[in-house]
Symmetry: C2
Subunit: 455 residues, 2 copies
């Protein structure tokens, strides 16, 4: 640890903060701020109020800004106009969670030793709270830097209204640089700073052929089966085994990563075996390390997440469904134009099922930042000093809609200092975070603020 | 009405029975005897006890017989050894019902004028109760016929244990002929006596590729997607638009109906337009009347009912599912060998997805009875006299597993005197039955018993 700050003071601060950190994380996790489900509207509001109170309690000047959708929470630990400013981005909304599939209730955070179990612990409430503890320490120790915080509540649904928020409140978020903490390491032993993200286009393809489900003994053979028709169409979109996309024009403009970048993925320690183990996958589409890395970080996908309608409970109910809705998403890479892609897909649907409806839900462009820059250097140094391990420069296969908005509107450098681990179960059951990552994360953020203050 | 019985007496009996019929039907419908769901096990037992009490109250000698699965209820209105015997078959188990989709609670029967709303009202509790009222009248009026009743509780799951019951209790069900009341008319104006039924083979195709669902941003492209793989495979099984089955060997041995029988379907008054209207279908696979009739009654199908796993709630959750299970059924026609068909399908699955599992759940052979015979003649006459309309001889596209068992073990003539209408919503939401069909049905059964007693 090479902090010029009083390291002992920081160690003490962190150790003394543990119980309160856990209590505060529980307070946040126990509010089911699922942005995807209309029934959690009141929880979103409750979370905004709770976080504003928390930020105020931490000594920041906090505010709630309304948008057409969910509110945005901002805060500032102000130092001095002449000092540099950094904006920390996290999000406070979470993915849905089915309690029946979890070992412990997803919205009643459980502390199991140094492990915190609950929806949102790692994505992204834990990292957000970690950065907040670091920011308070920086302020209390009078680091010459202004630290701003922005917490979004629509990240999991594509940050639809975040663009508008940034446009309307440029002064509130004005900054020299941005740090985003919402990404995943390669493994516990290998920190990663991602430079690029795939984009995302979610799509619903809907078909209704009757008013009610009917008995397949009575109507089967004569009635159209919307489920069977969608299945037939989806198989024309993607090769089930390899994932190769067959929608016309899908690969137009795709910019492939160079051999140097691909080799970098492997040199960073990525292996297909570790990847499969971390995500508990029995087998992968490919065996070759480089091929797997390329496919999760730098190649586009077309995935089917589910088809609603039909019968999906126990056994077989021999109905002909009256409607079906395919839930599909495409991960996009630099060079792909989401608008053109939607046009191509819609035309392809209409060609095969003229009375099907296509609805685009959420669209995020891919993002690719520079491999060089002083902010990136500072982040690398901070992480290495805090965790004792040099971070790898990689890409992430996921999408953070807010990043596109931040890049396009603020036009300031963005670095990605994530704290999550593959085994934390991003978007999965039994999501968790741990004190080790919180502790190291507080050190890394404090050190990063310090390095920025010296730039 | 040409009953030789005192018609006025029967009219009075029926009119006087209405309130009690409704109360008894409600008593049966309100017990959710869903044979498909393990959680309704206790309800199945409750229904057996309730029906035994009801049959006893009606003056029959009733009994409950245990099987490896659900019990079977029998009853007899004994007349004299020298008199002919008829066995009435109905079933008392029902399809599942999702209360959220229904206008009124499916297991809290509602009387709406002459309409009875609830799961099982038409399939098959209403027709069963109708036949029971007729049987009691026949006994009380000393018709020289022994009337036996058998009520099954596993019809909706393929009558798995009914075969064994019939084998073990041949004396209890010994009869000269069988009448089954579990079929649907062409329309309210066109009664139908079906001669044949399609068989059924239900199949689950399961694939697991990981331990937990993962985030498609993190794993998408590298992880196998079991949902996408099953979709790809299913599209190789069936043409979504036409329903043409592509599983190798599927059509081997299929016996097509002759032109005379096909013309008979149309002469019976079948039209694609009426069929679509009755089942609330927006469009059909074919427009031609004869083609639709052939496809629902005499051609085999491969239908996808749903795929579990994946995400099917609101919006799009961008997961890569760890498992998926396709729920498929094939309706079979005379000439198809279900065993060989399963072998072919299993080999086809293994060829495309070697680590997928195939599970056959429920298998019913197709059935085709004779177009001639004195029992059929009597049933035609009874229905025509009771309802004032000549019934058509058709086939049914559904499957009644018990019929195969009855035909193979009892080896006695079987006629199908159903009372349900297309608008009654067999296996659908808002299932219903009505007093008109109950009233006419009581007359038809009484007259049928009378004609049998004279044979």
């Amino acid at each position: 640890m090479a902090l010029t700050l009083d390291s002992k003071n920081l160690e003490t601060y962190i150790a003394d903060s543990k119980k309160a950190f856990e209590a505060n994380l529980k307070k946040l996790v126990d509010i089911p701020s699922v942005s995807m489900l209309p029934e959690n509207k009141a929880d979103i509001r409750k979370l905004a109020d709770t976080t504003k109170a928390l930020l105020t309690e931490f000594g920041a000047r906090a505010e709630i800004y309304e948008t057409k959708g969910n509110p945005v929470i901002t805060a500032e630990f102000h130092s001095d106009k002449s000092h540099p400013t950094v904006l920390i981005y996290n999000h406070m909304d979470v993915q849905p969670a089915d309690p029946e599939e979890w070992l412990s209730p997803p919205f009643d955070m459980k502390v199991d030793g140094d492990k915190y179990l609950g929806r949102g612990t790692t994505d992204d409430k834990g990292p957000a709270l970690t950065a907040l503890y670091a920011a308070r320490f920086a302020r209390e120790n009078k680091l010459p830097i202004n630290i701003k915080i922005v917490w979004e509540l629509e990240e999991e649904i594509g940050s639809t209204n975040f663009f508008q928020f940034l446009e309307e409140h440029g002064d509130v978020v004005a900054t020299d640089s941005v740090v985003v903490s919402d990404t995943v390491w390669i493994s516990r032993d290998k920190p990663a700073l991602p430079l690029g993200f795939r984009g995302l286009q979610c799509v619903l393809i809907k078909l209704r052929t009757g008013e009610i489900d009917t008995h397949s003994g009575l109507t089967g053979g004569g009635a159209r089966n919307p489920y069977t028709e969608l299945v037939d169409f989806l198989a024309r979109c993607v090769d089930g085994r390899t994932g190769l996309v067959k929608v016309p024009g899908f690969y137009d403009g795709v910019e492939e990563p160079g051999p140097e970048e691909l080799n970098g993925f492997i040199e960073a320690g990525f292996t297909a075996e570790n990847f499969a183990r971390a995500h508990k996958l029995k087998s992968l589409r490919f065996e070759d390390d480089k091929k797997v890395a390329a496919h999760i970080w730098s190649k586009p996908t077309f995935e089917i997440h589910g088809i609603s309608g039909g019968y999906t409970a126990a056994g077989v109910k021999t109905i002909i469904p009256c409607k079906a809705e395919a839930k599909v998403s495409m991960r996009l890479v630099p060079g792909q134009d989401p608008e053109k892609l939607m046009d191509n897909l819609t035309a392809y649907v209409k060609e095969h099922i003229p009375d099907a409806e296509v609805e685009a839900v959420g669209q995020l462009k891919a993002y690719l930042g520079s491999r060089e820059g002083k902010y990136l250097d500072a982040a690398c140094q901070a992480v290495e000093e805090a965790f004792g391990k040099k971070p790898a420069l990689v890409r992430e296969g996921g999408s953070i809609g807010a990043v596109i908005a931040l890049a396009e509107i603020l036009k300031r450098p963005i670095v990605f200092m994530g704290l999550s681990l593959p085994e934390h179960g991003y978007h999965s059951v039994n999501e968790n975070f741990d004190w080790g990552q919180a502790e190291g994360g507080m050190k890394a953020f404090v050190r990063y603020f310090e390095l920025l203050s010296e730039l």
